[in-house]
Amino acid sequence: MNKKSILIIDDEASFARMTKIFLEGKGDYNVSYETESMKAVETTRSTNPDLILLDLVMPELDGGDVLARFNEDPALKSIPVLFITSMVSQDDTSEDSLVQSGDNIMIPKTSPPEFVHQCIQDKLAGVI
């Protein structure tokens, strides 16, 4: 099976790097990350990922702004995006463990990492 490529866009470098290590440890992914939201579009174009993990709260452009720019670009628009954020607590997500914002799912940053992984698998499989 070909490895899927994931791009993390998050201004917290240590979180992004750790998530890369964790996900690559699963053996199924190639992970890269971008910590400057202004470069998000450019980096996404050059890496052409299968899925993007997008932080919601970032300086300069926030997650919503970045997504809006993706949507303006036909080539980027179709890439699946999962929001990951420290704004959402697990209690908010207790209904069905996920919070929806439009079509986009938000995962609380402090979710158990296996749950984050599950969300990525489901999103890649088109289940969520």
């Binding site: 917290e12 940053k109 402090t110 990492p113």
Partner: protein, 425 residues
């Protein structure tokens, strides 16, 4: 806050249907003095209240009376009443009954002593030579009782303000801290998840346990942070029209798994005539979930029963309680409704109820709870202008939590079911 916040007063329940009566402890030595008071206070049917005078010629009798469950309205204290050596009767009675009006009764030439008594906690004084003066005693009794009542009302208000202020500042700090701490926390969680996958490859036999401990610890920290975010988010409530009965039913459904696992029986007793009210449904469920969870944990999986009920507060009960009167006044509602959670656990003992609502106060084992549950409950209740009362119950023992809310005068069923955001200013 030196005084127990009356809003939480666990023991001061009003007695339903009590005949208006002013019960006076007459702590004077001489029988004839007591008679004089009796005569002075005997107005026949000309007053709506009538006086009941209890003569207690001995200091020990007064102490015994104040230590009993009986309710008294005022003490007439003879400064010459004999007390055991070294005991100052006034100081001792003040200590025993901090909120009970005390009128001292003195020899007229002891004016200095009488004034000194006022400074030491007496509410008024009556010179002996003047007790036959028409209506003087009654005037004094009514004045001190009314003044105490106003003081109490004022203190209730003050305590509520202080509490609201404390919660506000904590909420603001919590929001800031929670957000900043989440990122590093998430990073460590991610790291532990990765490191844990290496357990089979590491020879050190303790490595696995160390990973588990670290993971548990970090998950617990993350739970607390989530609780703090919930706490801070309660600044904003989304008020809708709904029924508390539905909230109770839904909360029990949400907790079905925990209830069954702990072998707890839930006894639902919902008042079908409960009027619809306005509240934040999600937050109200959070209250119920926190309270029911606390009860389950307090009962320690012992095959016990949680009684959940709703009811409309009777007008008599409302009229008899200063807290309920205050609640009706502040919410502008003539109808008050209540929800009650009663468990069969050990209760809260002598614990000052106010302390239970402090953030991070917990009696639970580490890992069982964050200690934020009740403070979140308190905060949501106060955002809804509600009132919460705790009481230790006997036969069977347990804790009873009652939360009272005002029902808005006109139900807003006409507006579309759109969420109305009420931002705290």
């Amino acid at each position: 806050m030196g005084n127990t916040a009356p809003i939480f007063a666990a023991s001061m329940e009003c007695v339903e249907g009590r005949v208006p009566q002013i019960t006076v402890i007459c702590a004077v030595k001489a029988e004839e003095d007591c008679h004089s008071f009796q005569e002075q206070l005997d107005f026949g049917d000309s007053l709506p209240e009538h006086f009941r005078i209890i003569h207690m010629p001995d200091f020990a009798l007064v102490v015994e009376a104040l230590n009993s469950d009986a309710v008294y309205d005022v003490i007439l204290l003879d400064l010459l009443l004999e007390a055991p050596d070294g005991v100052d009767p006034l100081a001792e009675l003040r200590k025993l009954a901090p909120n009970l009006p005390i009128i001292v009764f003195s020899e007229v030439n002891d004016m200095d002593l009488a004034i000194d008594a006022l400074g030491r906690g007496a509410d008024d004084f009556l010179p002996r030579d003047y007790i036959d003066y028409p209506q003087l005693v009654a005037r004094s009794v009514f004045t001190v009782i009314e003044r105490r009542k106003q003081d109490l009302d004022k203190r209730i208000l003050q305590d509520q303000l202080i509490q609201a202020e404390k919660l506000d500042s904590l909420g603001r700090i919590a929001a800031g801290v929670a957000h900043e701490v989440k990122n590093p926390l998430a990073t460590v969680q991610m790291a532990m998840a990765y490191i844990s996958t290496l357990v089979p490859d590491v020879e050190d036999p303790q490595f696995g346990e160390a990973c588990e401990l670290a993971t548990t610890a970090i998950n617990r920290a993350s739970e607390i942070i989530s609780g703090m975010v919930d706490f801070s988010r309660n600044d904003c409530v989304a008020i809708k029209n709904g029924s508390l009965n539905d909230v109770l039913t839904k909360s029990v459904d949400l907790l079905r798994y925990e209830i069954n696992k702990s072998k707890t029986t839930v006894n639902l007793n919902l008042d079908p005539s409960l009027p619809a009210s306005e509240f934040d449904i999600g937050k109200m469920e959070q209250i119920l979930i926190n309270l029911i969870r606390n009860s389950i944990q307090a009962m320690q999986n012992c095959d016990k029963v949680i009684h959940l009920s709703t009811f409309v507060v009777s007008p008599q009960k409302q009229a008899a309680s200063p807290w309920l009167r205050e609640l009706a006044a502040t919410t502008g509602s003539s109808t008050l409704i209540a929800l009650e959670v009663r468990d069969e656990g050990p209760g809260i003992g002598d614990q000052k109820p106010a302390a239970l609502f402090e953030p991070f106060f917990t009696t639970k084992q580490i890992g069982e709870g964050s200690g934020l549950g009740l403070s979140v409950v308190m905060q949501i209740v106060s955002r809804h202008n509600g009132l919460i009362r705790l009481k230790n119950m006997e036969n069977p023992s347990g804790l009873r939590t009652r939360i009272y809310f005002g029902v808005p005068p006109v139900p807003t069923t006409l507006s579309p079911p759109e969420t109305q955001k009420l931002m705290k200013t």
